[in-house]
Assembly symmetry: D2
Amino acid sequence: MKKLRLGVIGTGRIGKVHIATLVQSVPQADVIAIADVNSTSASEVAGAFGISTVFTNYEDIINHPDVEAVVICSPTDTHARYITEAAQAGKHIFCEKPVDLTLGVIQAALTEVEKAGVKLMVGFNRRFDPNFLKIKQLVEEGKIGDPHILKITSRDPAPPPAEYSAVSGGMFMDMTIHDFDMARYIAGSEVTEVYTNAAVLVDPEIGKAGDVDTAIITLTFANGAIGVIDNSRKAVYGYDQRVEIFGSKGMACADNNYPENHRYFAADGVHGSLPLNFFMERYLEAYANEMKIFCNAVVNDLPLPVSGDDGLKSVAIAMAAKKSFLEHRPVKLSEVLNVN
Amino acid sequence: MKKLRLGVIGTGRIGKVHIATLVQSVPQADVIAIADVNSTSASEVAGAFGISTVFTNYEDIINHPDVEAVVICSPTDTHARYITEAAQAGKHIFCEKPVDLTLGVIQAALTEVEKAGVKLMVGFNRRFDPNFLKIKQLVEEGKIGDPHILKITSRDPAPPPAEYSAVSGGMFMDMTIHDFDMARYIAGSEVTEVYTNAAVLVDPEIGKAGDVDTAIITLTFANGAIGVIDNSRKAVYGYDQRVEIFGSKGMACADNNYPENHRYFAADGVHGSLPLNFFMERYLEAYANEMKIFCNAVVNDLPLPVSGDDGLKSVAIAMAAKKSFLEHRPVKLSEVLNVN
Amino acid sequence: MKKLRLGVIGTGRIGKVHIATLVQSVPQADVIAIADVNSTSASEVAGAFGISTVFTNYEDIINHPDVEAVVICSPTDTHARYITEAAQAGKHIFCEKPVDLTLGVIQAALTEVEKAGVKLMVGFNRRFDPNFLKIKQLVEEGKIGDPHILKITSRDPAPPPAEYSAVSGGMFMDMTIHDFDMARYIAGSEVTEVYTNAAVLVDPEIGKAGDVDTAIITLTFANGAIGVIDNSRKAVYGYDQRVEIFGSKGMACADNNYPENHRYFAADGVHGSLPLNFFMERYLEAYANEMKIFCNAVVNDLPLPVSGDDGLKSVAIAMAAKKSFLEHRPVKLSEVLNVN
Amino acid sequence: MKKLRLGVIGTGRIGKVHIATLVQSVPQADVIAIADVNSTSASEVAGAFGISTVFTNYEDIINHPDVEAVVICSPTDTHARYITEAAQAGKHIFCEKPVDLTLGVIQAALTEVEKAGVKLMVGFNRRFDPNFLKIKQLVEEGKIGDPHILKITSRDPAPPPAEYSAVSGGMFMDMTIHDFDMARYIAGSEVTEVYTNAAVLVDPEIGKAGDVDTAIITLTFANGAIGVIDNSRKAVYGYDQRVEIFGSKGMACADNNYPENHRYFAADGVHGSLPLNFFMERYLEAYANEMKIFCNAVVNDLPLPVSGDDGLKSVAIAMAAKKSFLEHRPVKLSEVLNVN
């Protein structure tokens, strides 16, 4: 089996997920080097997964002669720069979302990728979740008919620290961005307008940091369908990730995943377990599928299922959602796309 | 058992439902007379349910000395007038929704009711559905904590004739009005603002008649919660009526009802029956509960669970929803309430 | 609508169920008289349901010139006698199960019915439950293919008083008899052999009374299929009534019914309501269907869906089950049928 | 992390499963050598999983100085011999079920294990399935109270070749043996008596080979509970593996696992995916858990959760089940245990 030699930049939470996945579940992957400015973190991860080469400087990954593809898991504000440099070095690229918080910066990076002729995939892992893949398949098979209403529920078990909002770009940019991508993916159409009704109901500190923690976001699609995303930073019962698509021929919905399927019948009611707690549990299989597809596509020169443009569009929708919230009115995507 | 002597005005679809319910399922009810301008319809219904007195003139019901309470099931444009006259005649009143399409007219009728000191209940039957009663109970018991997000899905199996829209006031007024009432009921708070994203996706004739057939309506509540209703005039799989309430302590959802609970496992998948087809099947128990509560409350001089103000508020929200759709912006309830 | 004039004998628990059903839910039924040796009970029931004629002597029902059909809800030891006398009086008959505890007595009664040319239906109401009707339909449509394995779970919420066992003939005769009928009905084949593994696990008093309260009964059918019934006199979570049929083309199962379909997600798990508590709640619709079919069949001279032979066979299987338990070995139905 | 150096004997279907699991999912495992009489198979597997040492002779594994534990995945008739030799060589042992088809042979091997003081675990992987672990946990927490009724459904998607029956010992020994172990495990009590009702309904060739393909097996436990297992060699809808335990305080059931949780609502009904197809999909996590526990227990000198006696008991129950079928009567375990 031809393998892909990878270098991973960033060994934080998501970096560890990808490294573990690549090492344990992707036979086509060969992680030959990892880098992190935090050398302790990098060394620990390298030790745990048997990776021999460790750098503190990301450039050592990008310029490493044996590295064929770079996996970018560093903070958001470095993504566009690393994409640009990796592209210029002729490396294929997997980059975590969001690509950047500014559309112009994203566009410049994508131009470099195109110029270099390398492959770029953005990390919208949920597209590879078996539940959502099934919903997408039903849409594509025409089982739903013309899509009319798309509904996404996406709630986290607990909010990140309030100070994270400033760094991350806020809830729409760090959390809902996955749902924006999912909306485009399932509806099979571009979002043309957004209206946001949001509030601070979970934690006042989040509000003080200028962010929201609860939202209902209405979407209009180019194909005429309409959609709605509801978000919360804190569902006490765990990670809540559901999708529903309704159309002229039927409706399909995907429920959460559970650790097991028991039910317990006692005198006081019927009881079951909570859904899988968070993205590490729920999207384990999605992460593995994502990396398998990335490695296989690069090795065999196949098209990638998530493009740089997908990364750009989801950021644009997040910006429109924020603008809608701040200006208390529906915002067209064109307003956001044109100014950048 | 003390019984309530009732007269029913209107023997159309909903009139028949109420008469059947009162005769067959409400031991406290004694339907002594019915009236319909269509004497054939009235006679048929009277025969089917063993009611001896039939009128073509509604006034004969309102002025009948033995009638203690009037059930108004005639067309919407007669509701306010009949309420007013029944109140002036000292009769208790059950009136179908909507009370009227104009807030001023409703207000005038409610003033007469108050002046007369009679009881008035508006027909929001879904409040008495066992599923939604259970959700309401969980909210009231504090099991949800502070409500954050309310979601209502309400889809009909097939649209009414396009020409019906003109008479009915359109989808928001004839269909979503139930959901507006449910939203206020479950959230336990008033709606303060509405934003409507709607479209004609089911049948262009509906659009030509100036109405919509598909909608996502975002709500803001006085208590800080936010909500969303999604509607379609045509779900090919039948009547879809679900509610979900999410808050600081948990989430509760009510699914559809099914004719039975079988599952069939074949080589091509797992299969089950469709939900109950329409409101006559789904809300059978709700209609019975509604009428039992109305009759019992009148007989024993108890407060009624749905007030005239509930009838007025749901109409106001429907008006705001329409205005939001037409003006493509969020509309405050106060804009609608203050002009009337 | 042509109506059937009925007289009901017995106003105990099941008598009340049938009278209420006939009066409230069966338009073709006209209950013109009821009888009970307990005149207080009879009068109360008559008052509650508006029945004008009340007797203490069952013969007054059977000989009443206006009574066309007799509904027998008296104690088991009177069933065969009343059937015989009603048949001789030319009345059609609905009789509760079991027909009798002795096969010879049943056979004699059935001979009288046949001689008189009247219709007889035995009260296996569960055949008319929508869940089980659906399972039967799937079998008849060939969706299951050749049946291989039939499973019935049947558990009561609480045991009857231990002394009831002596009167009733014990668990197999008063409770499992419904499951034996269901087994024959769903499998579409006769039971040829029975093996019983039973125990006293709920209440030692039941054991002292010579009965059991927990059982697993294996069945062999003439068509080659095999089956199993599991019973308990006490399920703390309520009434548990499920059926599963497995065959060459698929499997169908019917779950319990619930008062509503909510689910509550809290930090400690997912919770729902218990199944409907007992037969009065679960089989309400089945009782109505049963009586509608009986009345309609008599009025229009149609065949009845549960015959006297069905009544006899279920008693024979109950006897074989008891014999298997006592003799600790599989017992052929022919052993039981031939000695009587 | 201290690792366990393992040698695997047998690279057939189950051997491959264990090797893949050990290499990919068990960080504590270090598979240093594998052996198979079929050198082609062994080489292929070694290549696929990066194992450097390959033998055709099992003795090279058992006598390998670096091997600390032997995983026996060879045909059943070699198990006892390899256990014996491995024990004598001082190796810890994991052995696939059944240990042997003869109780005396098993007993002799267990004696050698005891004499050598090595650890032995028998491969009842289903005990480590998250669904069944949850059921077991509820039993142990007392949530079920005293167990009354245990039900196991275990159906394969397709039968093995008819000739396999002769080698394997037949359905009770190769398939139901898992259910016998599960019954003892969940009930927390020994089986004392068995009654088997079995048939050839799937494929006449299986009957010609002296085996059955469909069975209902009733169990009696030492603690007074009763149980039933139903088996089929062919469920057209896939692998069907469910457990239900009913007791004085409640009931718990474990459903099948599904590849995803979608539901599709169309005009002709509600549809979902089939359960996971077979043991490789359903018990993937169970196999990983099993091997993690084995490796960890050996490395840290902890007790193993499945003993040699567990292996012996399940074979004894299978023998009693076969005897019951052949002699058409309930068979006590003591009858089988005493003659060996």
